[in-house]
Assembly symmetry: C2
Homo-oligomer: 336 residues x 2
Amino acid sequence: MAERSLIVDGCQYANWSEKIFREMRAGGVGAVHVTICYHEDFRETVQNMIVWNRWFERFPDLIVQARTAADVRQAHADGRTAIIFGFQNPSPIEDDIGLVEICHGLGARFMQLSYNNQSLLATGCYEAEDPGITRMGRQVIKEMNRVGLVVDMSHSAERSTLEAIEISERPIAITHANPASWHPALRNKSDTVLKALAESGGMLGFSMYPHHLAGKSDCTLESFCTMIARTAELMGVERIGFGSDLCQDQPDSIVEWMRVGTWSKEIDYGEGSAAQAGFPPQPDWFTSNADFPGLADGLRAVGFDAEDVARIMGGNWLDFFERSFGPMTAGPIAAA
Amino acid sequence: MAERSLIVDGCQYANWSEKIFREMRAGGVGAVHVTICYHEDFRETVQNMIVWNRWFERFPDLIVQARTAADVRQAHADGRTAIIFGFQNPSPIEDDIGLVEICHGLGARFMQLSYNNQSLLATGCYEAEDPGITRMGRQVIKEMNRVGLVVDMSHSAERSTLEAIEISERPIAITHANPASWHPALRNKSDTVLKALAESGGMLGFSMYPHHLAGKSDCTLESFCTMIARTAELMGVERIGFGSDLCQDQPDSIVEWMRVGTWSKEIDYGEGSAAQAGFPPQPDWFTSNADFPGLADGLRAVGFDAEDVARIMGGNWLDFFERSFGPMTAGPIAAA
């Protein structure tokens, strides 16, 4: 059941600061899935968690770590923003399936099976060939299902994504992408993928990253919200939310690192180009967490009723968290 | 308040197997603090946790990980043995105070500040000099207090132990040792330490490791229980329990590794000697977890009433877990 007042962002990777945490509160954002790994190995990811633990300790009135839907509800009731850890790449589990449960124990709740490139588990959206989910990928999906770590295919290729939806016994997420029918980018998703995702009970988070928007930085709020209305018809209004991909206050060196990590000595421009290598400017209607209320206005303007607006703004994500973050069956794993 | 039927062992490092887990059930053991690190660094300790996670998955009817006193009670109600992780050395936090909260997040609930030798935090019981708690030690104790990771001084030297009791804002534990007044071993504790421990609300777990026993492997149950009665007079019956130090089914190569880890190329015999380098034989009244009920008989035989027996067998440890495993104050740390 949707909760009217909760706002959830299904993906951000900002240059975190007190300013941004205060903007989360100003925007009434109840929960954010934050990326804590792009290319880091396990030990480096733990170091990123330590940095987050210091944020939690320094700003207990603004943010709190969430491991369950109940934690999100509690944070919302307390007027704090719930922070949910996630990985954009399976690099933190290295080549060890045992690290899936360890990472879940440390609070990770989303993990992409691949980030643009081929991984040990699945194919990324920029590879020329997509052979589908690997042998290890099948085992890891099963383990992720068991412990309650959500499969995220935002940066994965089409066949791998369809296979992940099929193989996973629990609904998966595409936390940050838009329909390719609206803006044909390699990172956006085909209607085939979106329909399969919706039929399996999964979630799509709409991205406000300019490279994923029709018209890029010039995309209008009306165009964005009209696309959402069309996607609601395709997928059902219960299967959609936001995943802004907001990379606020990051220097351009960060987008370069996102793109090449340690896998290449040559620059790869990803969604950008040599002429536009840096972060593109955000559309003026979404530059920070404080702009979330304006999105609700935009949804109302294209005809969504109050209940659907509440669902899209956060209720659907909360329902998904409820179904996804705990162990699959009662058994040996304590609900963390 | 003591729970009559719960048995808790405050320290074991067995060569874990289905056989031993079944002996835990046969002995009615409700909870065991298991050592998952002697000398391992963070990454190696995580690997040991992965091994434990496989045990939990393979034997869900016998064992379950516990992170809270409530988990211990639930396991007891379900007829499973609660397994609580602990470190005999601060090596898993390496030189990074941020790893204290990470390790707590992964379920660690006890950490010794030193193991026989000088550590970054405190002095071990075999060092010639004991300069007390170090600068980093003071910071780490504060952090352990904050998150709910219990300071354990079982293998630490006298001054460091007294200082840890003083510095720590929460009661500490000596999970496995006996009074030196009964058996003067370097690993056993002076009455000064035991009194300070008791006055601060801490806990002593009586060891059944032969090098800690008067008469060693020939120690009688009566001698052991008479010592417990005397210690109850010294410390109060609320401050004592068991910490068997049971190293069942371990090959002698393990005790050698416990003693030298990676710190020495030369063999160090610790509590043993060149003539008796291996694990000493256990006294015949305590060779496995199945022997715990006999300890209760021994306590009754030296005059403890039913309530005190229940306290010593496990109720006191449960009370201590209740006070010790959560964050010090309501605040940013989610109760794991």
